[in-house]
């Protein structure tokens, strides 16, 4: 089942482009994701109001951003701060808002989870993957979530089983399925390789 076998639940991330039709735009970016946001402004400066939430996470593009989005910019230190800020501004948003998210996969789906509680569905969010291919995995055995898995097999943060990272993705959980790799032959592990750098 190698060539052409593609599990359809795996999200496809695209390059962000402005929605022509909108009443307002909200860009949410973390770390290198903010370069993607800047790229958007290279395309065009939209006529509608723009809000940009930026979690620095060690990067520093605040100055540059200030020039492009003087009005709606909110620079935060971390993902946690950003999510708090997002929850604060969402109640004021109206239909016609278009949402763009850029960052790691873990970040994208944490943001999507917050947006869902305000009636913005996954299909309505534009997403671009940056920084890393690291995966969040859901252990199907103990239900624990483990972040930042960069290898084909990772250790569950809950039950410590070694989990094979399947290509099957749940938008509801924001995670890939992790399935015990050595259930049929305990202790026999294939070589562990970094495949999601």
């Amino acid at each position: 089942m190698e060539h052409g076998y593609w599990i359809k639940s795996k999200p496809v991330y695209n390059a962000l482009v402005w929605h022509e039709k909108a009443t307002a735009h909200l860009i949410i970016a973390k770390n290198q994701g903010v370069l993607v946001a800047l790229k958007l402004f290279q395309q065009r400066q939209p006529t509608q109001p723009v809000t940009l939430l930026y979690a620095q996470d060690g990067t520093d593009y605040a100055k540059t951003l200030n020039k492009v989005v003087p009005a709606g910019l909110d620079v935060l230190n971390s993902e946690q701060d950003l999510l708090v800020s997002l929850k604060n501004i969402m109640p004021n948003m109206r239909m016609g808002l278009r949402v763009y998210v850029a960052g790691s996969e873990g970040f994208i789906w944490s943001v999507a989870e917050v947006l869902k509680t305000f009636g913005v569905e996954d299909a309505d969010i534009m997403k671009e993957l940056t920084d890393t291919l690291a995966r969040t995995i859901y252990c199907v055995h103990c239900k624990a979530i483990t972040h930042n898995i960069t290898t084909n097999i990772g250790k569950c943060s809950g039950c410590e089983r070694m989990l094979f990272v399947r290509d099957h993705f749940s938008r509801h959980l924001g995670a890939y399925m992790g399935l015990m790799i050595d259930a049929e032959s305990p202790g026999e592990l294939p070589e562990i390789e970094e495949i999601y750098p």
């Binding site: 052409g4 076998y5 359809k8 299909a123 749940s170 399935l179």
Partner: protein
Amino acid sequence: MALNFKKETFREDYTYSNSDAAIKRFPFPFPEDQYMYSVNIEPHTKGKQGTVCEFTFDIDEHYVAECLDKKITLEQDPGRYKALPHMMDAQWDFVELTMEALAQDYPEHFSLKKQGLIWTWENKPLGIKDTFTFGDTSTLATEPFDYIGRQLQGDFVLLDHRDETLYADAGIVTSQADWSLAFNVGMSWREWHGPVPRATELGVMDRALKYLLNLQIGSPVRRLNWTMTVNPRLDTSPENYPHWGGERNTVNAENIGDLIHLRVELQTLFRLPRSNAIVFSIRCYLISLKDIATYPRWAKRLHRVQKTMHPDLIEYKGMTKFHPMMVDWLAKFDDGETLAIGTQPE
């Protein structure tokens, strides 16, 4: 006809077995010598007396034991039941569909009395009798779908119909062929069918969805699906794979006839009236290779189907370890006689 409910287990000592009558009515899924995925959907009309399609929902000799096994699974892992909040109308629709069907088809075991919205439900085999107000969740001890889902053999998924697709937004799933409700809940048709090999390429999935989106009230449909399971285990979930996966290593040429079971799912789909949701019912039947071989026609057919099975399907269905051994074991029943199309045992 009153059923004789058996005492048996689907785990640890695996005392499950089929009576001669149960073998004879087994829903054998192979009408031809080859098998590949297809849109094998047909109207769920009443079948002949004694067959698994005689009634809307089939209740058989394993009913009480299966409900007990379901209870154990749900106790160990409450995550096998999940219903998203917007599915409450569908939950009540499901209660109506199942209670009315069971009371009508098996009056000696189940009864439903209605006084306006006050309903009294009695399930004699499980010793349950409750009065509740239809549509009022506070009058039952659990959510309505959970309440009646535990009193039925098989698994159920409630699907919300929106954005021109179906979403698996509720389910009670304890006898599944290796998929996880907790993981799949909230997924769309294309997402949850993502891991199925070849079917998308064959166009099977898109056509089946198109058909289902037009499913009508009062015109349910059905199809069969199958896999192979080591030991008569209902709960072959990914959740418990660490417990059952190792059983695949115990199969050998001597015990294969007893250990390997053909697992057939009778899947039925109904449009629900008030919610416009669809219920997907998955009723699992298990039979050992030895019991299949009591009917030479079935053994021959199964041999040919397995011998020509596509390698992707062997892998997807988890049969890789024992498949060659199984084909060898079945070969001794096959004299090469031409078999007419059809699934009948004789």
